[in-house]
């Protein structure tokens, strides 16, 4: 196994220096807020994702949790990629990321869509770690739905 293909520099960087970590209240008191807490029952990893939206744009995505480098870096990248994006754009990115992770290493990611998320291409080859990478993305999807915004078609696990 090539350990470097899993632990890309970008992933370790986001893990050691997470972006946007910590749950925040919405800046605009009128914003619609949704929150979801997801757990990976096999390892006990947990994440809480909170979204604030005006109904069109995700004005903030905040999160807190504990877990492995993959799950925590993934949450950091999710924050980077989707915060400030329109729900329709976010849906495209979300679907691309889920597809990448479900692709067993056969999907070539589009950097224009996924940004730092392309670093997770290697993770898709490790079935035991795919759940770690998807934890925050699934929590985000639920949180967005609770805020009244759909972001993704059904996940094909």
């Amino acid at each position: 196994m090539q350990l470097e293909s899993l632990y890309q520099e970008i992933i370790l960087d986001h893990y050691k220096h997470p972006h946007g970590r910590g749950l925040r209240d919405a800046a605009d008191p009128a914003a619609r807020v949704g929150e979801a807490h997801h757990v990976n029952p096999t390892c006990g990893d947990e994440i809480t994702v909170r979204v604030a939206t005006d109904g069109t744009v995700f004005t903030d995505i905040s999160y807190d949790g504990m877990g492995c480098s993959i799950s925590q870096a993934s949450a950091s990248i999710l924050h980077e990629l989707l915060r400030g994006r329109a729900a329709s754009d976010a849906a495209v990115v979300h679907e691309a990321f889920v597809q990448l992770m479900s692709g067993r290493g056969q999907v070539t990611p589009d950097e224009d869509v996924l940004g730092d998320g392309v670093a997770f291409a290697g993770v898709a080859r490790y079935p035991a770690r795919v759940k770690c990478a998807l934890l925050s993305w699934m929590a985000f999807k639920d949180a967005a739905a609770r805020a009244g915004v759909g972001v993704s078609p059904e996940v094909k696990a």
């Binding site: 350990l3 006990g44 993959i70």
Partner: protein, 434 residues
């Protein structure tokens, strides 16, 4: 290094039972394989053990030469299969010093064995003629501990829900030992059963049970020991332990998956109502109702895992030939070596006893704040197979304030060189994540 002569007449160092580990390793085909370009270093035997050729051969031979259903055929193959199945039961009874062969019930695994006892309680509680020892209701108590595997927690939580009984538990000390200080308040006249792990699958602690047994007898409760982690690793004598039930599973003791054991005192099994209904567990069946076979058949509804039971018999033969005291000693030496070696790793914290006394060869630890998933992944890239996660003992992780741990566990085929590979691998983990 200094050496000291042990006075004559005292037990000498060479008196301890030993076996040739290299010779044993040659019996396990899987130990020859590579993982990710490195020789396999398997440190996950608490999860499942590997199987020696002697067991694999018996499994294949049963299907190739003796395959038939048991306990229902007069033909030759049926007789051979039945003899092999019942022969395995006799081997297992001898292995744990059961007073009677009929006290050994074959199950799927330890989980099923515990559930059979739990459901016997609720079934007895529903019947007016249920044996009072198995009748539970509001005010009655079930006692477990904080160091149980989920399989010895959840069945009792569900039983408490069904019957209105209360579930209580022994706490765990900071050293990872069972906290018996509240024994007399915890185990009382209200207690109907104490179900306790013999050796913890996460902390490695081997619980001394005699004080608890004495208290259980004093209050007239029953005692179940979850021996999933102890029967594979040390000599077990159910008479000596004075338990009422013990459970264990075949795949952790060189046997196949899908076969486990519930041992119970004969008179208790006889007092227990059936749990699963079906073929083989009956005496007579009419459309109006049925009567039931005596144990062990009463608790073995349907076609059992025949080949698996026979292969478990072969596993018991294999372990017996090497000698359980020798296996126990080998693992004690490995544990002492590993505890010393792990103590040299900066930032490593062990959960559970840090001395090789009253503990087995299962060691859980944290490496700084590196998540166990990441520890396990880097070790895997070096061929070192450890388990990471909560080990189906989440309350223990909560007790020690961690979401998960990394666990290395040993068996008769484990070597000190493999422990060295683990320690070297942990250095690599530190380099990747520091």
């Amino acid at each position: 290094m200094t050496s000291m002569a042990i006075p004559a007449g005292m037990p000498q160092y060479d008196d301890v039972p030993r076996f040739d580990v290299a010779k044993v390793r040659a019996d396990f085909p899987i130990l020859d394989r590579e993982v990710n370009g490195h020789p396999l270093v398997y440190l996950d035997s608490a999860n499942t053990s590997h199987k020696p050729r002697q067991v694999l051969d018996v499994l294949a031979e049963h299907y190739a030469l003796h395959n038939a259903n048991v306990s229902r055929s007069v033909h030759t193959l049926g007789t051979e299969a039945t003899e092999a199945y019942e022969g395995a039961r006799a081997k297992i009874a001898a292995f744990i010093n059961a007073p009677s062969v009929d006290e050994v019930v074959f199950t799927k695994n330890s989980t099923e064995a515990i559930n059979i006892v739990a459901y016997a309680f609720s079934n007895a509680s529903l019947r007016a003629d249920g044996d009072p020892r198995f009748r539970l209701g509001p005010g009655d108590e079930i006692v477990i501990s904080e160091m149980e595997h989920h399989s010895n927690i959840v069945p009792w939580q569900l039983l408490a829900e069904r019957t209105g009984a209360t579930l209580r538990w022994f706490p765990v000390t900071d050293q990872g030992r069972l906290d018996e200080s509240g024994l007399d308040d915890l185990v009382t006249e209200r207690t109907k059963i104490v179900s306790l792990v013999h050796m913890s699958n996460i902390l490695g602690t081997v619980n001394a049970t005699s004080r608890i047994t004495a208290r259980v007898r004093e209050v007239g409760a029953l005692l179940l020991l979850d021996c999933s982690q102890s029967v594979p690793h040390l000599p077990m004598d159910v008479v000596d332990h004075d338990a009422d039930f013990i459970v264990f599973t075949g795949h952790k003791m060189c046997g196949p998956t899908g076969i486990g054991v519930l041992w119970g005192r004969g008179e208790l099994l006889a007092a227990m109502p059936p749990v699963m209904g079906g073929g083989s567990m009956i005496e007579t069946v009419t459309m109006g109702g049925s009567t039931f076979a005596a144990p062990p058949a009463r608790f073995e509804a349907g076609t059992p895992p025949i080949a698996e039971a026979v292969a478990l018999g072969a596993a018991v033969d294999y372990l017996t030939a090497i000698g359980m005291p020798a296996i126990q000693w080998h693992e004690k030496e490995l544990t002492a070596y590993a505890l010393d070696a792990l103590a040299t790793v900066p930032g490593l914290r062990i959960f559970g006893p840090t001395v090789p006394v009253g503990r087995g060869g299962t060691i859980s630890f944290a490496l700084g704040d590196v998540h166990p998933h990441d520890v396990g992944q880097v070790l895997d890239s070096l061929g070192v197979q450890v388990r990471v996660g909560h080990h189906c003992a989440r309350p223990v992780c909560t007790r020690f304030g961690v979401p998960a741990t990394t666990r290395a566990s040993f068996y008769l085929y484990t070597t000190t060189a493999e422990i060295d590979a683990l320690v070297a691998g942990l250095e690599r983990v530190r380099k990747v994540f520091q």
